[in-house]
Amino acid sequence: MKNIMNNFEYFAPGSLEEALKLLSQYGEDECKIIAGGQSLIILLKQGLITPQYVIDIKGLSELDSISGNEKEGLKIGALTTHRAIEKSPLMQNAFCILAEMEQNVSSVETRNWGTIGGNIAHGDPSGDPAPVMLVLNAKYKLAGAKGERLVEAEDFTSGYFETDIGHDELLTEIQIPAPPPRTGAKFTKFSQLQGDYAIASAAVSMTLDADKKTCADIRIAMGSVAPAPMRAKKAEYLLRGKVITDDLLVEAGRMASEEASPTSDAEISEQYKRELVGTLVTRVGKEAFERAAMA
């Protein structure tokens, strides 16, 4: 690939405060934030974006940490690498879905440098972390000159590469609440190669009643089959309050497939993606159910 990147002015702020100051100064202009840059640099090289200013936040170690536990929930700094999440001992039980998802994000090389916050802020509808964040009921903390605010993961992405981040804001932290007892979660994606972009992906988090058969609560999310990661709310409604059976999960998959709105691309048809995502929802639904029963 020919590097047709335009020249830009580069800033490497030494603190979050400094980064926010730079953003309030340049954010309204042609300005991009770079973290690991594993998506951004490709866009720059292709000339698809031509920022005048680039603010490099990769060095802000204050945003690179994971803390918490299953009782209090997790706080993941936006600059935590994919690899750090994959390897973190905190990714236990209901949170192991995060480590499992990370293991198939691109290659080790990308995961060693790319960050969770960069991935989410990029807003790519085929990204793997977002559907997992949706079913874990995550919130994203955005910091700006005027202070901080929390956004539900579900409300964060509005369309292809469109997010709720303001010009003067930075994604600083991902907050994941403690899972209720008897909760199991599972994610899978279907791709042509190991670590490749998802053709379709599905995540399910299921909480069971004390009988360990009845679905008390459920969240189903799908990736790569709409302009933004989305929940399959009709399928969730079908399962909530019911005794979970294989037939019911097949029906939920069928409903989720109807809720999806994939588009055909050069390689894969809309019908194929729709069929596929339904199957994935049924499959991970079953695994989330089994995990919840064991939890």
């Binding site: 840059g37 640099i41 090289k45 680039v54 490099d56 290659s107 080790v108 440098w113």
Partner: protein, 164 residues
């Protein structure tokens, strides 16, 4: 406007002024003349440009060179100790783990990243660590075997008290 880049490559400190748009592989090859690191797909898809950054395997085509400021880089040129090949290099040679060799420096750097972290990886762990690396000639079995062999050689070397 050019910016200062101070970093360490293969143990040697460099102080350069570069355009911010320069990616790491360009500095390594064009400024430092370290042509062992290959620039292939240049879009983060093939891992031929893999180097170690502070000990971790990364794609040098997908990192702004300025992001390596203050960091330590190891390229394939830094693997051997003088004329003494690194055990990973010996294992790649002895196991016929390459043909044209274009992807080999990236493969070996990823292998080093893996073995530094996990000295005795299972076959599946090797496959997972290497899955981003594309080789168009020789297939992947010999590469896996070379890495298993390299792990053994490094362990023997460790037992004999040799340097890594």
């Amino acid at each position: 406007m050019k910016k200062e880049l101070k970093f360490v490559v293969n143990g040697q400190t460099y102080d350069l002024w570069i355009e911010p748009k320069t990616v790491l592989v360009q500095v390594l090859r064009d400024e430092l003349g370290l042509k062992g690191t290959k620039r292939s797909c240049d879009s983060g898809s093939c891992c031929a440009c893999t180097v170690l950054l502070n000990g971790k395997a990364v794609k040098s085509c997908s990192i702004l060179a300025l992001q390596a400021n203050g960091k330590e880089i190891l390229t394939v040129e830094g693997l051997a100790n003088g004329t003494q090949l690194h055990p990973i290099q010996e294992a790649f040679l002895d196991n016929w783990a390459f043909q044209c060799g274009f992807c080999t420096s990236g493969q070996m750097m990823a292998a080093k990243g893996l073995l530094d972290e996990n000295p005795d990886p299972a076959r599946e762990e090797i496959q997972l660590a290497m899955d981003g690396h594309l080789c168009r000639c020789t297939g992947y079995n010999m590469i896996n075997e070379a890495i298993q062999d390299a792990a053994k050689r490094l362990q023997t070397q460790e037992e004999q008290g040799g340097a890594k």
